[in-house]
């Protein structure tokens, strides 16, 4: 009898320890995130002003604003998404809905995964070799966008594939069972159901693109360029590279320290806003899918 009571106690204790550990780790992750955010906000909030986000950098980037870098980053996000999103989504649809199981599919899948694992600096080098030099785009928004697009392509493909996979097969069977073609089934039933989740792929890639430094290093980013790009063949400043420059190789690193934190804060805010926007879009389309 006492043995049973002892056992029950032990079970409860073990459970408490396990749950406590889980709780601690999950709180720690959230806590860490807040610490980082708070650190950046506290250090950077001081320089944030209308001038900071709307003016050109001045006096060796120790004064003035970061307007051209903001515009540059927004252009790069937009440009890379225009390229990566349709290509990635179509590739994923092809892979998930059309290619039969077999060695071909395995190879494509493995390649996509490998592509996702390639260090971003390698993408930078490749982009320089292909877009900047071979295709003679020069250091330009076009070359940078394409390079960034290539970088996030595997992310888009993978999340799209996962979204398509999560669409219950009986929807496909029901549609095909009504005499619909494969394309009708994919475009009218499967894709609309998967779309809200596909948006998640967009969120992830926007966050990735706006923060990447290495791929734009040799393909688009300008050290200091106090004017806005006027065409896709222009160079541009970009937030992550600007952050790198004023933290490591600016004219006066100490004087621009606060600017650096301000830049980081703006970068985080841009990512945050795009995430919120994409989330809202996902909710909106999710509702719409159910209704129509």
């Amino acid at each position: 009898m006492t043995k049973e009571i002892h056992l029950a106690k032990q079970k409860r204790r073990n459970q408490k320890i396990a749950f406590g550990l889980f709780q601690f780790t999950s709180y720690a992750v959230v806590g860490l995130l807040f610490v980082i955010l708070a650190f950046i906000v506290i250090k950077g909030i001081g320089v944030i002003s209308w001038e900071f986000i709307s003016e050109m950098p001045k006096e060796g980037m120790t004064k003035g604003g970061i307007f051209p870098a903001i515009v540059g980053t927004l252009c790069l996000v937009f440009g890379s998404m225009i390229f990566a999103f349709p290509v990635g989504v179509l590739a994923a649809i092809y892979m998930n809905e059309y290619v039969k199981d077999g060695w071909m599919k395995k190879i494509i899948k493995q390649m996509t995964n490998n592509l996702a694992g390639v260090p971003s600096i390698v993408f930078g080098l490749f982009g320089m070799a292909l877009f900047v030099n071979k295709l003679e785009f020069g250091d330009s928004l076009l070359a940078g966008s394409l390079t960034l697009g290539l970088l996030v392509l595997p992310v888009v493909i993978r999340t799209t594939e996962e979204s398509l996979k999560s669409v219950d097969d009986t929807f496909r069977q029901a549609s095909l069972g009504l005499g619909a073609s494969k394309w009708q089934t994919t475009s009218k039933v499967v894709f609309p159901i998967a779309f809200p989740n596909i948006i998640t792929g967009l969120i992830l890639s926007i966050g990735r693109v706006s923060g990447e430094t290495a791929p734009i290093l040799f393909t688009v980013a300008a050290y200091f360029l106090p004017k806005l790009p006027t065409s896709i063949f222009d160079q541009a400043m970009a937030l992550p590279y600007h952050l790198y420059v004023i933290s490591t190789s600016g004219t006066n690193i100490e004087a621009s320290r606060e600017m650096a934190y301000g830049t980081a804060l703006i970068l985080i805010i841009i990512v945050l806003i795009s995430n919120l926007l994409a989330n809202a879009l996902r909710k909106y389309f999710g509702k719409k899918v159910k209704m129509n």
């Binding site: 095909l176 069972g177 009504l178 619909a180 073609s181 009708q184 009218k188 039933v189 159901i193 209704m291």
Partner: protein
Amino acid sequence: MQKIESKGINFYYGETQALHNVSLSMKENSVTALIGPSGCGKSTYLRLLNRMNDLIDNTKMTGSILIDGQDIYEKNTNVDDLRKNVGMVFQKPNPFPKSIFENVAYGLKVNGITDKKTIEERVITSIEQVALWGEVKDKLKKSAFELSGGQQQRLCIARALAIQPSILLMDEPTSALDPISTSKIEELIYELKKQYTIVIVTHNMQQAGRVSDTTAFFYMGELIEYDKTKTIFTKPSQKQTEDYITGRFG
């Protein structure tokens, strides 16, 4: 002539043989129940009739299936047309995430019917056929997900009927439903029999007894016995059939 006539069917999932030399014919406007323990091949057989197994990679079939005298596995068979003629209802109600109206209209639209009036008429007729009209007529624009499970399943049947098939395949259509919804579907099957040839897979012996004219008992990929439902349930000729029906195994 038989409506559906299958001869010497062998079917393989990769290396595994799921059906062994199955020959089975069904009369027009009859209900045939396919029974047997899980994994016996009854669902596989059902899905051969509208070539749904084509969707699974690495499968192989030998033998022939004739519908209205036409071999549906012939090279020049138009699979889309075949599936238009052979409707299917699934185990779990699976309406599309669209409105009630659009669910039924979908099959018409994908088959090239664009005239709004025709679509509307057919949608209404089909919903009436499954005795759902009274319950949904005021909310046709609402999501099909707002309906109960039983209503959803009847909507799925309406969706299949809208494109005017002559055969209806039902893969355990009531296994996810409560008894009241089940009896409604069974009544419906009885009604539909007048116009359609119905093949139904079921795990429910009483259901097979209630709704079908003929019953086929499958076991381990083989067709053990096929006869009038009454005969199967009262004096089956095979011992295995009797054991299964009386609940001694399966």
